[in-house]
Every structure is written in C-alpha cells, then in structure tokens.
Amino acid sequence: MTRTDQEAVQRCLAGDAEAFSTLVERYGGRVYNIALRITNDPDAAADCAQEAFIRAYRALHQYDPSLPLGPWLFRIATNASLNHVQRWHAHETPIGDSEFPESLEPDDAGPEPSALRREQLDEVLAAMAELPPHYRAALALRHFQQLSYQEVADSLGIPLGTVKTHLHRARAALKVRLAARAQGRTH
C-alpha cells in the first residue's frame, strides 16, 4: 500500500514498526549511495546506511513532519558516514576495480563507447575518492542525489553559503585531480 512519508512516520510512532520498512524501501537506495560515496567502501556503506536507519527509527519522535523526510534521513546518513570515515579512515581505503558491471547501460553506439564511458566514470569516482570526506558528502548530495543547495545545507546541517563554498572548492579540487590523472595516463 502506498502512503506518504508522514503517514508512515505516524504509523511508526504509533508502534507499527513494519511501516518503517516502507521508508527503508523508499529511501534505502539513496541513503546507501550517499554512504557509499562518502566511505568509498560498499561494506562500510551498508553498515553506515543500517546505522543511519536505526538512528532515524530511534529519533523519529524528533522529526518535524512539516518538513520533507528525505533531507532529514540524508543528514543522519551523512553524519553516520562522516563519523565512520573519521573513526576508521575508510577514505584511505583504495577503491577496487571498476564498480560498474560490464553492461553499464545500453549504448546504441556499441561496446567501445560504453567501455570508454565506464572508464571515464571510474576516473571521476577515483578522483572523487581522493577528496576530503565533507567535500565528497557535498558532491554526493548535490550531484548524485540531485538535491538543491538548500536541501544539501539541510542535509549537512551547515549554512547555505558554506555549502556553496564547499561545492566550489570540491569541484575545483576534483578538476585538479582529474587533470593530474589524465596527465599521469599520458606519461
């Protein structure tokens, strides 16, 4: 049965824990992907996403139903992931080979462009993994989750101006790293 986030939250608060599984189903993928981009480690990301949902479940009574649930959940997930990175230095974990399956997406132009594209995306993700965690968090929320500046600010719990500064610096740092990687390949 489809119900709004607020209805599901109300049911959870009334004691129907199964309603929470609806929210997990709805936001699980996005929360996991935010954690994945911050930790760069699928196992750590799964742990952080689980921890985020458990924290959210326990703090549901603090949620303001007049606000959208997504940014509230993303904020918890971001905090859990950043805490994890600070605790375990997971950002130093080298990311493995391509995380994309061979058949990334149907490509009308044939297999060669698809492979090139996969390689390009791997480069971007590898460069992103070298950024400081709070830059990765801002980029993940803004560009992977397609949140507005205000939603990113709400999710990170920092002022709007700081978000713009973080994103500006993150983009500049990403460009520098991508250029360095491109240069490294040519030599």
């Binding site: 129907d16 699980g28 997406e105």
Partner: protein
C-alpha cells in the same frame, strides 16, 4: 541515461560536472539489506524487553528463594494441608501467605509476560512476520 530529475538551480560552472556525475548509475542496495535492518530493530526491542523482564524477575526470585529457605517448613505445611484437604472429607485447609510473597509472585508473572513477548517477537522476526506492538 540517468532518470534522476535535473536540478533547476544549476550554476553554469556546475553543468559539466553535473552531467558527468549524473551519469554514474546508483548502486543497488546489498541483498537482504532491509531484512537485516528490520531484524536489528527487532533485536534491540527484544533486548530491552529481556532487560525489563530480568529487572522484575531477579529481585522476585531472590526474595522467593529466601522465603523458601526461611519459611520452608511453613510452605511445606501449607501444601500438606491443601493436599490433605483435597484427599479427605474435611474442608479445613489452613495456610498463610504474606503480602510480600504475593507481590513477588505478581512481579514474577509480569517478568514472565515480558519474556514471553520477547520470545514471540524473536520467533516472529526470524520468520519475517509482522512485528507485534
């Protein structure tokens, strides 16, 4: 292409990077993520109930054990009286139970109720059933 909605507050210098990053496909949730999560939520709830059950049960059991040690003969006599009353024509079955013992037994009953509930939730959770309140 990504089916994610495009941002409407994109700044010019963001467009190129956004186009690039929007092409990164989201990773699927690990298999069994939701079930694992719900099981963890249940186990925390069950742990809480077991603690409450223990808090009720342990003092009561300690008190009842002490009562049996100190007034064991009285209890034995009361049980003997009841047994003799049920096996004979007489209706006299005198026994005495003090108020604290009744309270201890009541608390033990509450503890048993909590423990039974925790057991039911645990069993239900392991089969993937709906969580009881």
């Amino acid at each position: 292409m990504s089916d994610r909605p495009l941002l409407d507050d994109l700044e010019p210098e963001e467009r190129e990077l956004d186009r690039l990053l929007a092409g990164v496909p989201p990773q699927a949730l690990p298999v069994g993520f939701r079930d694992t999560l719900m099981t963890r939520l249940r186990s925390r709830r069950v742990t809480w109930e077991w603690i409450v059950a223990a808090l009720f049960a342990l003092p009561s059991l300690t008190f009842l054990a002490r009562q049996v040690l100190v007034h064991g003969e009285d209890f034995a006599q009361a049980i003997a009286n009841i047994m003799s009353a049920t096996s004979s024509d007489t209706t006299d079955a005198f026994f005495f139970v003090d108020g604290l013992t009744v309270v201890a037994l009541a608390l033990l009953g509450i503890a048993c109720a909590f423990a039974a509930h925790a057991l039911l939730i645990g069993a239900g959770g392991s089969r993937g059933h709906t969580i009881a309140r």
